[in-house]
Amino acid sequence: MKNVYTWSAIFAIVFASVVGDVLLARAMKQVGDVGALRRRVGLVAVIVRTLGNPYFLFGVTAMAVAFFSLLFALSWGDVSLVAPAAASLTFIGNAVAAKIFLHEKVDRRRWIAASLVAAGVALLAG
């Protein structure tokens, strides 16, 4: 039963952080090239524009949810399971979500890269 709790929490982490990353990426695509924008309107305006973006706010909220899910997961499961499982599944989930929701061109090269990084993170964090 504890296993079910742990894995539910792990999937909650993965889901929330994937949602967060996708929303943040979309927010920054809307804000645009930060470097060029800063030269045009100044640093403060860039920060205000970023913080005022609704996608950014939802993204940060999702990240907070992911963080608290991590705390829950750690209270139920071992860190040696939770950390690598959540981290590596997030990389795979992000590749899928970026393809579907951000319409990024995730070609074979990027799939392989995501899988390699996910495997590497699983080994390192474990």
Partner: protein
Amino acid sequence: MLSHGMKQTGNISLHHLQGVIFAVLNPWVAIGILLLLAFFATYMMALSWADLTYVLPATSLGYVLLALVARFLLHEHVSPLRWLGIALITGGVGFIAGGPELTTHPAPHADAESKQTADESRATAIASRGER
């Protein structure tokens, strides 16, 4: 990337100091939070320039940096399995970062550049037609 690694370094130091000297806890927490903010700001900047599927794997170099810091600064033991993990991450990041196919990826930055080149070549074509 560096800030990501540094952020994790901050966290390590935090864990080390926590049990030993409680007095230095606060400065470390402050530094940790500052570095976390720096990581987040640079992450947002990177996302404004490149695809999520490009930026995210690249940030995983932080794990590699963390392991190297643990090995060489904190003199922790890094097992062969973890070295394999480092190799896999480095290989994966090299896979997206290097390679000629990068320009065909519609990372907005590269996209803008290629559009610019296209515009330039069109301008050159028009100019040369004008000469004739």
